[in-house]
Symmetry: C2
Subunit: 493 residues, 2 copies
């Protein structure tokens, strides 16, 4: 067995360490020389590219266009929306100078004090401020609305405790920023984009999510409402996987963005913003993977099928390669990404373990007996089940298998999630059970005090008021006060 | 005629102003609130996306993989390669703090002096240093080579004089960084990627380029050789449109990156880097566009065909739309991006001028008489020629026309370029002629002194030693000294 694989921590031993190990061993990412910033390695980046391509198509289908806004934001812009600056000022990377100079002793370079900026610039933690400052010039009349832009970019939040993909100082994301004539339209847009995220999570990542609305405490800084998709990891913790914000007229007022309505009267514009980030890769890893390594959904796997010949000598390799070449071509013609691995410097056992570690959904192996029998050994990564299959009709077989795997890992994750959602009415019971993870559906009195007490007692937070849950009023398990609805409470990443 | 169009400066009056006007009026980009940084608007960004998609495919076909490295670079990294720091330290955006705090008088935020970084971080002007610091861990043996990564990202160079796309403080680009076992392989890689750039420029952008190698003065900071593609703008000035660098072992030595060769002995790794940026959009605009606006090559035009109905009343609009719907679908099925513009709040004349301004390659118009005759009026943007064409076979007609336009604008640009390349042997003649633009093929003695004198006298610089030119030795026109070859000298952007 491959050395890398043997060293992978078991989930049951230390789930957190297993995750950190896996990110590095599967060549997804690594820590960089800059605190809290990661290097996304080619294999990890290939997953992100597949995510981007699909999400980008989905956004464009709703009429969104891509654009690009500056990386740097004038310090004064942040202050224009009171809650926004409160939320982001404490974790900003600040540019103060625009030049270095050689040190006198030639031992290196130092900041040139003569090159101090008049106003400091912030590396964007998110772009509402610079974008609404721009939208001011783009919006005059109702005919300019809705205005719907998205950008794919890097952002920076100076986090103190970081983990690859889940929480890093720099991360890659997309941020959509839309402007609308009415409150209703903006609210509908914020919810529509949440649904896009949910559809992407479930159909592409095979990650089941609960959609809902955040409590006031957990809202985005400057939003009137924050909608969220919440996924459950294998340790029962929640991972907020995407958010969509109804911003009301807060940014329009902060940046004085008005439009002339059909009656030629000026009105403030209504806004939304919404984003998902490289955090999705973390969600993907933690939802499906196992003690052997990654389990990737076929729709997002950089390599969907690996084919490995096992041969004795060059003649047999040649015969097997000849037999397999039309198979490789047939799979590729069907739009399947295939790697044919006939490298002679690694033993089959090493390759098997390595592709399991990397989460390649389907492995095809041909040895001497298969060559005689015109068969292949097929292994599916999700269940590790093996089967011997005829070469005839293998393309259709693999296509179907990839679909089955996609469906199976989603169903498995959904069952796990559903098995760990509990209605709970008793705080003592809650405090005991929440230690083991899971989503708790509990009545909440709507106060920040109760929310704070739960967090202090248990580290768990209110994840959202779920949409897909038939609500009945009840009694808050903590305060004993009346509660309008149940919320989902969980520990989270 | 549309107001926007009337206000576009004529090229003959002020080429530079024409360009600035056009960038704004065609909705490509605008100045942002941050000095020297632009906002790339959706129409401009759509061109960049098309460029990215094609270049990315071409890179991957050569075996390059995408990855992502941190935005911020520790200051000390820059100093590790002596020429590199010399080249970039003077235009760096420097992050010194990681937190803001509320001012005492609550009037805004200020830098929190307690949050000073131990070591300042530089926003990447290019990523050789952080990438080679990473490669150190990725490369152990000859089996790890070649290592070929590319990243699409933003970079920052604090330019004092900026122009949209051509020179901005922040710009988008791709940077490829490859590591090789031998000098020969690295040199071949640097040249291969230059050829990829040249092919992209000519076949996709329809911009003819001269490939060549830079003089020592004009080399990338830290390179042993810089290869370049040079395009000629309509004012006869050169635009450096892409560069590929053979870096020798400079960065391997600076970051101590060695590999064990087949004899198990450590050797320093050989490197290349290569990049093109949003500057390509500037090259595209300045090569083809005219006094009516943009002329875009069909292969990169966000909208390839616009269809405009000209109707009297709703019944006729309905009849025309019914007739045109299968045409729109047929064109889209052929992979052509089509906009059907039946907006009723703009007059046809305004639309015509606007799509000319935006450089849409083909315009189709159907009026009442066309409806009767089953015809369309076709206008091609490059020549502004109109023709009336039957609806039968229109899809094939348009496909062919798009190909013709692509070819025609390339040939036109090539003829213009070729007509403005001069062999020149007399410095007085050169000084007089270079004022009017053009590429001058002149013998050069190879000294930096001669190069500096030419620049001082005429503002022109040595663009490159061109590859595709049969060289014979001669006499330097400035110094009278022997010269091995001719170089291209031109004023440039």
């Amino acid at each position: 067995m491959a050395k890398e694989l043997k060293e992978l921590t078991k989930r049951a031993d230390n789930y957190s360490q297993w995750y950190n190990d896996l990110v590095v061993k599967a060549d997804l990412a690594e820590q960089s020389a800059v605190r809290g910033c990661m290097v996304i390695k080619p294999y990890g980046y290939a997953i992100w590219e597949k995510m981007q391509r699909q999400l980008d198509d989905m956004f464009k289908q709703t009429g969104v266009q891509n654009a690009y806004f500056p990386l740097l934001i004038p310090k004064s812009f942040l202050s224009k929306e009171a809650e926004h600056v409160e939320g982001f000022a404490k974790e900003c990377a600040v540019v103060t100078h625009y030049r270095l100079r050689a040190k006198d002793d030639k031992s290196g370079v130092e900041v040139d004090p003569a090159a101090r900026l008049e106003e400091e610039l912030i590396i964007r933690p998110t772009s509402e401020t610079i974008i609404w400052n721009t939208y001011k010039n783009w919006i005059q009349s109702w005919r300019d609305l809705p205005l719907m832009c998205n950008q794919w970019c890097n952002v920076m939040r100076w986090e103190m405790r970081t983990r690859p993909f889940l929480r890093t100082s720099e991360f890659l994301w997309q941020e959509g920023h839309t402007a609308h004539a009415t409150r209703e339209e903006a609210e509908a847009e914020a919810q529509k984009m949440l649904h896009v995220y949910a559809e992407f999570a479930e159909k592409w990542m095979a990650v089941p999510v609960l959609q809902g609305v955040k409590s006031e405490t957990e809202r985005f800084a400057g939003a009137l409402d924050t909608y969220t998709i919440e996924a459950m990891m294998q340790d029962g913790k929640a991972l907020q996987s995407g958010t969509s914000h109804f911003l009301g007229q807060n940014f329009a007022k902060a940046f004085d963005v008005t439009y002339l309505n059909k009656d030629n009267r000026p009105e403030y514009v209504w806004a939304t913003s919404w984003g998902v980030s490289t955090r999705l890769i973390g969600a993907l890893i933690m939802t499906h993977s196992d003690d052997n390594g990654l389990v990737l959904p076929p729709k997002l796997a950089p390599i969907q099928v690996v084919i490995i010949p096992i041969t004795k000598g060059a003649d047999q390799l040649k015969a097997i390669t000849e037999r397999l070449t039309p198979i490789v071509e047939g799979l590729r013609a069907a739009g399947i990404s295939v790697k044919y691995d006939d490298a002679d410097n690694k033993r089959p056992g090493f390759k098997f373990a390595d592709y399991e570690l990397k989460g390649v959904p389907v492995r095809l192996v041909m040895g001497g007996r298969d060559l005689e029998n015109n068969t292949l050994e097929v292994m599916r990564r999700d269940t590790l089940e093996k089967e011997t299959v005829s070469l005839d009709g293998i393309v259709e077989y693999v296509e179907k298998l990839l679909g089955d795997i996609q469906e199976n890992i989603f169903e498995k994750a959904r069952k796990f999630r559903d098995d760990h959602v509990y209605e709970c009415n008793n705080y003592e019971e809650f405090k005991e059970k929440v230690k083991n993870g899971g989503f708790f559906l509990c009545h909440w009195d709507g106060t920040a005090e109760t929310e704070a007490k739960i967090k202090e007692d248990t580290q768990a937070t209110i994840r959202c008021v779920p949409f897909a849950y038939e609500q009945t009023p009840g009694v808050d398990m903590v305060s004993g006060k009346p509660a309008k609805c149940r919320v989902i409470i969980a520990r989270s990443y």
